[in-house]
């Protein structure tokens, strides 16, 4: 049976989700919604509404929420209340209490699926890294360093992402959340946080454009995080150092390819010779030419709805933990 899906919010993400659903044999978009009515002309074959309540009234099996952050919790909760499965973009609302509300609705809804869009875990570089770490061949993770930065750009200050009411947070909540999720994915839950959260350059906005954080687990694994909107050349970089080796993910494939090629370099540590082996150890690099993260993410959502899996990536618990960390980083960074 085909899963009938309604998409709420037809901006960049809504369109990406629609393309992915169109390519999936088991899913179908049956209705779309956006506050901008002009968008309806681009999709003449689909029922369109500017009011999400009306779209939900069409009775889809599942809803994809691709709206501004502040609209997410209401839509998610109502959809769950109406026994629909829900996939929502990140961030999961604007604060921890939003996630708590959605979890309550999820529990009430019984066996409905609630999944959030942490698609970076489905990038091939990250999947490869996870397989290496889980295999145990390099021992346990000692520390990690993650950088995720973008340049902002000419429209940055006027974007909804820079509007505190709509977004609820700056670059850390918008983009850095992916890196926070990945650091937690590889190192586990963090119990101690130190940070600086500040606005360095984009002075017309009230939100942060840079966040620097140190996070420590109760096993003393430390992660260093930098999330930036003043990274004039886009950058994604995640280094993981383990007892017997290391792996470095550089770049992340995006539709514009502006974060460079996605690759992972990994190697076993070599102590034999300080100048040769430690400076130039045997390394292998894998370059990935395709981003199937949206496809994998939808497939997991689909399998969960079919009852074959439970949510392994982007569960409501993942969402809660990540939002708790982000709030802690904000709190610690703003003194």
């Amino acid at each position: 049976m085909t899963i009938k899906i309604a998409i709420i919010g037809m901006g960049t993400m809504g369109r990406i989700r629609k393309q992915t659903i169109d390519a999936h044999a088991g899913c179908e978009v049956i209705a779309i919604c956006d506050i901008n009515e002009a968008i309806s002309r681009e999709f003449p074959d689909l029922p369109f509404d500017t009011d999400w309540q009306s779209t939900l009234a069409q009775g889809p099996d599942a809803v994809m929420v691709c709206t501004y952050n502040n609209a997410i919790p209401d839509i998610v909760c109502v959809a769950l209340e109406r026994k629909m499965h829900v996939f929502s973009e990140k961030p999961p609302g604007t604060c921890v209490s939003d996630v708590q509300r959605m979890i309550k609705a999820e529990r009430k809804a019984g066996n409905r699926v609630l999944k959030f869009g942490f698609n970076h875990r489905f990038h091939y570089g990250v999947m490869e890294a996870k397989a290496i770490v889980d295999s145990g061949r390099y021992g346990r993770v000692l520390w990690a360093r993650g950088i995720y930065g973008k340049a902002g750009g000419l429209t940055f200050e006027n974007s909804w992402r820079s509007d505190n009411d709509l977004a609820g947070g700056g670059i850390l909540l918008d983009q850095g959340i992916h890196m926070v999720d990945l650091l937690r994915y590889f190192l586990g839950d963090f119990v101690e946080i130190k940070s600086f959260v500040q606005n360095c350059y984009w002075n017309k906005i009230s939100l942060e454009d840079n966040a620097f954080a140190l996070l420590k687990t109760n096993e003393d694994k430390v992660a260093m995080l930098h999330s930036s909107a003043t990274q004039w050349k886009h950058k994604f970089s995640l280094d993981l150092f383990l007892e017997d080796g290391y792996l470095c993910i550089n770049g992340i494939l995006s539709s514009t390819r502006s974060y460079g090629e996605e690759s992972i370099t990994f190697a076993r540590k070599e102590f034999e010779d300080e100048t040769t082996a430690m400076g130039r150890p045997r390394e292998e690099t894998i370059y990935f030419d395709r981003d199937d993260s949206w496809k994998h993410e939808l497939e997991e959502f689909y399998q969960c709805i079919k009852g074959k899996n439970s949510v392994s990536v982007g569960s409501s618990l993942d969402a809660l933990r990540v939002m708790e960390l982000i709030e802690e980083i904000y709190k610690a960074g703003q003194g």
């Binding site: 061949r137 040769t276 390394e283 690099t285 894998i286 370059y287």
Partner: protein, 320 residues
């Protein structure tokens, strides 16, 4: 798809082909081949089935011809099964290769390389199959040290050796495995399509095929052609290009996950050949004479990343 680059400054040609051992192998192989009648025909490409008209070079009187579709390089006239069995099991070369002296020397030289290969196998198995232990069928391993190294890997529940030359024989229970290895086997295979069909049949749905093979479209082979010391009949009769390998896997029903050429030695082989580089290969002669170590290292990296090295590595899956 993916591209791979491997940086391994310590690996040298001598790690793979120890001079004293390799020269003896070459002379025994040559003696065997020279005793065979000289064929004049050019068979269709064993990979694509297409007629071939372009002979790239001749080695010991045997012509190597290019596939017009895939650029795979294979012996022009293919020997029969009996000749191949004789060559690999009942020739002076076969006896030398099974001698303790030969096996011990190569075990010593290749120990580190084998450890890296086992780690690669484990990496691919963990990536695509998960964290269980698996039954692995290893097709055509000729080195006892390799069998001991691979066979005792901790991520395997069972290890079975299979002989690819007809009639197919298994060292253990010939049951379906989750992983199949074909390390450097295709290059000495008369009927690659048939072998892939057998391997496919012997894999469980979702199972992985991992293979390595010499590629006929690789830099050192196309540069050195008949002067290449690393290509000779009957060890090397079928050298698929990446396109040829894709075709073989597709024909057999495999889903291709990775096809890369992370070879380390192409540039080293060409540089070492020095005066043996064919005169008309001006660019390669220039680079090997005038390029410094850094240039040569970067060139090898370029070949790896763009599937232009002669060492082919594949991960494929039998669909569920």
């Amino acid at each position: 798809m993916t591209r791979h680059e491997v940086f391994s400054p310590s690996v040298q040609i001598s790690d793979l082909h120890h001079n004293s051992v390799y020269q003896r192998e070459l002379s025994l192989a040559k003696a065997f081949v020279k005793r065979l009648p000289l064929p004049f025909n050019i068979d269709p490409c064993p990979i694509s089935g297409l007629e071939r008209y372009e002979v790239l070079f001749e080695k010991w009187g045997r012509r190597y011809a290019l596939c017009p579709q895939t650029w795979s390089l294979c012996l022009g006239a293919l020997p029969d099964d009996e000749t191949m069995r004789l060559y690999f099991f009942d020739s002076d070369l076969a006896r030398y290769r099974s001698s303790t002296d030969y096996q011990n020397t190569l075990n010593r030289l290749r120990k580190d390389i084998w450890a890296i290969q086992v780690e690669w196998v484990e990496g691919r198995v963990r990536r695509y199959l998960g964290m269980d232990n698996y039954l692995l069928v290893d097709w055509g391993p000729r080195m006892q040290g390799w069998v001991e190294t691979m066979g005792t890997a901790s991520f395997l529940s069972d290890y079975v050796v299979a002989e690819p030359l007809p009639p197919v024989e298994f060292s253990g229970r010939p049951e379906n495995g989750e992983v199949a290895l074909l390390f450097d086997v295709i290059q000495s295979c008369l009927h690659p399509q048939e072998l892939f069909a057998k391997v496919f049949q012997g894999l469980k749905p979702g199972g992985l095929l991992l293979l390595t093979c010499r590629s006929g479209s690789g830099f050192d082979i196309l540069t050195l052609a008949g002067e290449s010391e690393s290509i000779f009949p009957m060890d090397h009769i079928c050298l698929p290009s990446p396109q040829g390998m894709s075709l073989l896997l597709e024909q057999a029903g495999f889903e291709l996950l990775e096809l890369t050429t992370p070879g380390l030695l192409d540039v080293q082989l060409v540089s070492r050949a020095g005066g043996q580089i064919p005169l008309h290969q001006y660019f390669q002669r220039y680079v090997s004479q005038c390029g410094n170590d850094k240039v040569l290292e970067r060139l090898q990296g370029f070949l790896q990343q763009n599937n232009l090295s002669s060492h082919l590595r594949v991960v494929a899956r039998k669909p569920e």
